[in-house]
């Protein structure tokens, strides 16, 4: 059976070679799978950059066109929304650090191309959190209905306010004061990341330096409980690394930075998967260095679990082990985020709440 994930990755990594060998049947598998994993626009951008857009048959090309249009719209919209956030924050004098998608867009890096944008991620100094929440609420962002347990969960154990939704525009803000949950077993020094950041948007905001962008994305992906956009995140990392990797010293910087931030394990995982899936030109010595810093080999069981789990959730893309791998990694993610003494009561609470609605459960579906 065709490995659809491999086709998606090949269209991104080597579009000139791949476009020509896809028949209509393969495009019929690739388009919906790429859309489901949020990589359709990314594929379109890569094919266009390689000058092979006209070689795509008319049927699938329409879908790529529409995806490009949507991505361009998203990008314009996210930048407009960031402006509004900065306007709201102006009285506090706080320059937020943008993270993830918003950072890619504001920073103008390759990872912003062919991307859809959702929530805007912000990191602000801890002491300013109250002021920031205040001005954002005044400007129209609200938490809506939050159950008391969830509110506690967010404030004490996670590292962010509950997501803020704007009353009119429905834009969503995730406001953090750290890069990882305070109670989690991996803590990252956000001060270091902030200090190394670059000013953008007329100096009113910061974005992380490219190495930190890669590491932050890796840290989130490889400690998470679910991976609906995992393949997309790896593609982002691949584009960031390719963009910077033309400078030989950059790779050493990346490994060193990972060690300083305590993210060598996550870096190894990022390098291993990016290299295998997208052919990212990672120098061998960098991978060896990172493995040494992390104290692990380059091919562990966890790596293989991720390989099974990081697939579009569709027939033809999953493997026999995808479901099991996803469940195991789900548990792993929980363990990494919360120590057992907190995790067990937390999961018990969630379990009781779920059981209360179990009899009304429908098979999972997407809201129309």
């Amino acid at each position: 059976m065709t490995d659809v994930r491999a086709l998606i990755c090949d269209l991104i990594a080597k579009p000139a070679d791949t476009v020509g060998r896809l028949g209509l049947g393969e495009w019929e598998a690739v388009i919906p799978a790429a859309r489901a994993t949020r990589l359709l626009a990314r594929i379109a951008v890569c094919i266009e950059a390689a000058g092979h857009f006209d070689a795509v048959p008319a049927g699938p090309r329409r879908h790529l066109d529409a995806a490009l249009l949507a991505a361009a719209r998203h990008r314009a919209d996210v930048m407009t929304e960031v402006e509004r956030v900065l306007d709201a924050l102006a009285p506090t004098g706080v320059a937020p650090m943008l993270l993830k998608g918003a950072a890619y867009a504001a920073g103008g890096v390759a990872a912003a191309d062919g991307r859809l944008f959702g929530d805007i991620d912000l990191m602000v100094p801890r002491e300013s959190l109250t002021d920031v929440e205040h001005v954002l609420r005044r400007a129209g962002w609200t938490t809506g209905r939050v159950e008391p347990y969830d509110f506690l969960y967010y404030h004490r154990w996670m590292h962010q306010l509950p997501p803020l939704v704007h009353v009119e525009r429905q834009s969503v803000l995730d406001v953090h004061h750290t890069l990882a949950a305070p109670v989690s077993r991996r803590t990252v020094d956000e001060g270091m990341v902030r200090a190394a950041g670059r000013r953008v948007m007329g100096g009113r905001a910061l974005v992380p330096m490219p190495a930190d962008m890669v590491l932050h994305s890796a840290a989130h992906l490889f400690t998470d409980t679910e991976f609906p956009h995992g393949l997309r995140d790896l593609s982002d990392m691949d584009r960031l690394m390719r963009g910077e990797g033309t400078t030989p010293s950059w790779w050493e910087l990346l490994a060193l930075r990972a060690r300083n931030l305590g993210l060598s394990t996550e870096l190894v995982m990022a390098l291993v998967h990016c290299r295998r899936l997208f052919g990212t030109p990672v120098p061998d010595y960098v991978l060896a260095r990172a493995c040494k810093d992390a104290g692990r080999r380059r091919g562990t069981l966890t790596d293989r679990l991720f390989d099974h789990a990081l697939r579009p959730d569709l027939d033809g893309c999953r493997t026999v082990w995808t479901g099991t791998a996803a469940r195991l990694l789900h548990l792993r993610g929980h363990l990494l985020r919360m120590p057992p003494r907190l995790l067990v009561p937390h999961l018990a609470h969630k379990g009781l709440r779920a059981a209360g609605t179990w009899l009304k459960a429908e098979p999972p579906h997407h809201a129309a």
């Binding site: 209509l24 495009w27 019929e28 919906p32 799978a33 859309r35 489901a36 048959p57 008319a58 049927g59 699938p60 329409r62 879908h63 066109d65 529409a66 249009l69 949507a70 719209r73 959730d313 569709l314 027939d315 033809g316 009899l359 009304k360 459960a361 429908e362 098979p363 999972p364 579906h365 997407h366 129309a368």
Partner: protein
Amino acid sequence: MPADRPAAPLTVDALPTADLRARLRGPGVRLDLGPMVARVRSPLAGFAETFRLLYGNWPLAGTDQFTDVTCDLRPVWALRHAPHRRVQCLIDGQPTFETQAPAFAPLLFEWALNLHLANHGLGHKMFHAAVVARGDDALILPAPSGSGKSTLAAALVATGRWRLLSDEFAVVGVDDGLLHPLPRPVSLKNDMPRLLRRLDPQARFAATVPTAHKGPVTLMRPPAASVAMRRRPARARWLVTPRYTPGGDDTLRPDAPGRAMMGVLEQCFEWGLRGRRDFDLIADLVGGCGCFTLAHGDLDRAVAAIERMADATADTTTAEAAA
């Protein structure tokens, strides 16, 4: 020996029943709907017959055509409804909508196509409206559900003087500004089928489905003449905003173009993906139309009012051309 003239495409009606069932259970049936090619698969008993009733006129897509969307209608078990089975709709492999009773399968297919069209306009601008045409002059009835637009459209088509372009979405070509036909099954509520059968005894209906939110819904087979003209776009000529008003006077009242345009914009989705160009497209469309409102309560009187208006403006144009 005929020269290289492409054979007329095979329609769903032309497929033997056993073949149709086998395809639906296996690789699926691919419909060439014009703006898109859709594949449908379902092992449900009875679905093949209903599908043939509703889509018999429509051509099957050729092997050289790209399938834009795949819809699976699968039987599933849900604890809450046990021991009865439900049907789940999957669009491109993703479960969509809540599960429904098996009788809903044809409705789910229509919803799936509507959702796909709404999310992926693919070169067309769309808004909620029924569209019918006399020749190449189109009448747009923009309005949300419950306005009676589908019934009015079906009644006009039943006169035999109008063809159906769409009962749910106006499909406007981004490049040509014309209305592109997509004469799919018409969705009728309550006892409208009875009224329409009186107007057109040839009309064919699928079994009525008792929906929770909209009451009884019946799908009607689109007339063969409308489907035959599916490749002929029409130019927007008249815009009538209907509102179903029991006891209404069934009189067309001129509407300010600006207000008519606001009404159309309210029925748009996929907001401003092309930004200003979308706005201009709609403005040009509405600007070229005679705009009216219609508070309708009696179907026959409403249809007569619309036809009188269409005749009158056609005469005016002819007179202007002659002058």
